[in-house]
Amino acid sequence: MTARERIAGNVAGYVDDRTGAAKWMKKNLTKVFPDHWSFLLGEICLYSFIILLASGTFLTFWFDPSMKEVIYDGEYAPLKGLEMSAAYASTLDISFEVRGGLLMRQIHHWAALIFMVGIVVHLLRVYFTGAFRKPREFNWIIGVGLLTLGIVEGFLGYSLPDDLLSGTGIRIAEAIIQALPVVGSYLAFFAFGGAFPGEAFIPRIYTVHILLLPGIFLALITVHLMLVWYQKHTQFPGPGRTEKNVVGYPLMPVYMAKAGGFFFIVFGVTAFLGAVASINPIWLYGPYTPGQISAGSQPDWYMGWLDGLVRMSPPIETHAFGHTISWNILIPGLILPGIMFTLLALYPFIESWATGDKREHHLLDRPRNAPNRTALGAMALTFTLVSLLNGGNDIIATTFHLTINQMMWFSRIGVLVLPPIAFIITKRLCLALQRADRDLVLHGRETGRLVRLPHGEFVEVHEPISAEKAWTLTSHEQIAPLELPEFDGAGVRRAGGIKNKIRNRISRATAVAVPKATESERKELEGHH
């Protein structure tokens, strides 16, 4: 035994004597993780969160979260001598007087954008592969919670510098609060410590941004990861992969090196963006005052869809009994997003209700083998994308020589018409892909080689696919639709019959599939040749 091994043994012994950790560590250091690029999307979020904590801590050392007015006397000449809040002035100081400060600010902001992109692509992967199914519904809900909090946290973060653009964002947020029926103006006055903008808001959201929300994030992320750990990762179907096993690499050393390495990759890419690409150049926006505005005032992208919905809203307000309800703010700003996020969070339960499938799933679906789910996802994506585009309609209009009025009408109509179209197209596409899979298994791969048969006919040679591939393409289950009783023996609709009828219908739509190829069919085809 070398000296080093002896020391390691002693340390391990010391810790185990006091915690009994050896047994747990022994089991978990060899824990198996399946390898697939799409399983790293969640890690992007985790790592950018760590980057955000580190770079954010750096920024707090100089940032002054105060709305007290100061006269700027710093490095940046075009703002010298202007009145501005201490928050804005200190952000300028971080950018121009602290070496590496601008780099850190940009890394922090890019990391925030990557964090949100990571959450969305991770969510899409989980959704389209059905990874949210039993037993992982809790983790799906936690994920939706993290997405929602991420949007809020990002908004608060870019609001802190108190520049003209972010101040405009806060103004809009204030209008949303103020629009709440009954309590709106009270809540707005409480949040802002008086009339907008006041002097209280930035210090308050600072506490929420750097303490309250990061704390909640940390707790939720920990639970999210513990559940992944405990429930073991899902895996894609393939030879040797079943619902009862996990095929992959052990944590120690392979996955540790890969995952650890990927952290540095994410940090490196974020630093690269921070080095070469300007983000949130607050010195150009100028300090906030409610009397100024810039053309093309947009939020960051993860709020863009919300802004797009608000822009396309019809101008409806109700005035009755001396009170006003702003539907043009409430519907796109609160009600619609509320419905969207509730449906998103409840989706695992909705799907299992519709299919009647209450079993555990550890093997992922290929998106084509769940056409209804995939089409619903495409529908939701289309809705969000149209809204997002409308959130940047002025920039798009000037770039592509369109008019904002055309863009707005396109979005107003498109947001209603395009999602159903996306649903239909996606569903058909899925079924077409299923058919292609079936053909591939039964007839093999087209080789492009033509052969002339003795009687003169040309045929293309098909090469049979491997047993592994054939299994991968046919291992999925095709569930039969529900047949819940709608009528009793006498032909009379029974209690709950209508509910059953709806479930049956949804379940039938969900079960639509091209029958997968079977060994029997293959043999039969061989017999013909």
């Binding site: 790293l40 490095e75 010298k80 003209l164 983000i279 053309a295 992208w301 920039i395 020589h401």
Partner: protein, 268 residues
């Protein structure tokens, strides 16, 4: 950490690599000087010069403008009257190439001017002779470096201009396909003329509500914004978060997914 941005800019001139950028700047400078010089040499100093210019301007007007603006500049079905718009308006519209309009699109675009500076001057003199209107600012009155204040100009710009032209003077969308153009590379004289004449969709900024000094401050700020190097890396068009979002959804997540694919690929 000594020095301010002005110092930075002076250092930048010394350090600027003599690359293509320098060449473009040189060409631009030469071009501008030439144009200004041309304007100076042809500016009529005597009454006789002026009436000659008016006569020449009238000829040019009849040939190039009267088909839309009418034989006596009284306006027509598709073009406004030019009586009383003043020399500044003509100098702006023709000098920036907006007039004559190439096609009847939503609004006249900035393009290479059709007329020489001398011809522009003649046209301006002719239109100014029809009725009094804003005059072309003299070169002496355009000394924005001396008479303007950049910080004040920024504040004025954000209050009066940024709502259409964007926070960094990059331009923005108006209704029905109209747009506020970018102010990058626009001559100070033309910015000044636009402020006092209100071309096309743009309103007029009167000298009493936005004094000549304040106008010069705005010009000074625009020029500073134009010359400002990229302090934090590629500026992404200076249009705000839309391009930032685009970059993170393409290059950002693209690089990361690329590495993830490599990571999960089996080594041979």
């Amino acid at each position: 950490m000594e020095g301010n941005t002005v110092k930075r800019l002076s250092r930048l001139r010394r350090h600027r690599a003599a690359g293509p950028m320098l060449l473009v700047f040189a060409l631009l400078t030469i071009g501008t000087t030439f144009q200004v010089a041309g304007a100076v040499t042809t500016s009529p100093s005597t009454v006789a010069d002026r009436s000659a210019a008016i006569a020449e301007g009238k000829q040019l007007f009849l040939k190039g403008c009267s088909s839309c603006h009418g034989l006596n500049a009284e306006g027509g079905a598709i073009a406004p009257s030019l009586i009383g718009v003043g020399a500044a308006s003509v100098d702006f519209q023709v000098g920036t190439g907006r007039m004559p309009m190439a096609d009847m699109s939503q609004q006249a675009m900035r393009k290479d001017p059709v007329y020489t500076p001398a011809e522009v001057n003649a046209l301006a003199n002719y239109v100014a002779s029809l009725a009094p209107g804003p005059e072309v600012p003299s070169e002496e009155s355009l000394n924005y470096e001396r008479d303007g204040s950049v910080a004040e100009g920024g504040e004025l710009f954000r209050t009066n201009c940024a709502m259409c032209h964007n926070f960094a003077a990059q331009g923005g969308a108006l209704t029905q396909g109209k747009y506020a153009p970018t102010l990058m590379g626009v001559e100070p004289k033309h910015i000044y003329e636009a402020l006092i004449t209100g071309p096309q969709s743009m309103p007029v900024f009167s000298d009493k509500t936005l004094t000549p000094e304040e106008k010069l401050s705005i010009i000074k700020w625009i020029k500073a914004a134009e010359a400002e190097p990229q302090l934090g890396g590629v500026a992404l068009g200076r249009v705000g978060p839309v391009t930032e979002g685009l970059l993170v959804w393409t290059l950002g997540i693209g690089l990361l997914i690329g590495v993830a694919v490599w990571l999960a690929m089996k080594a041979r």
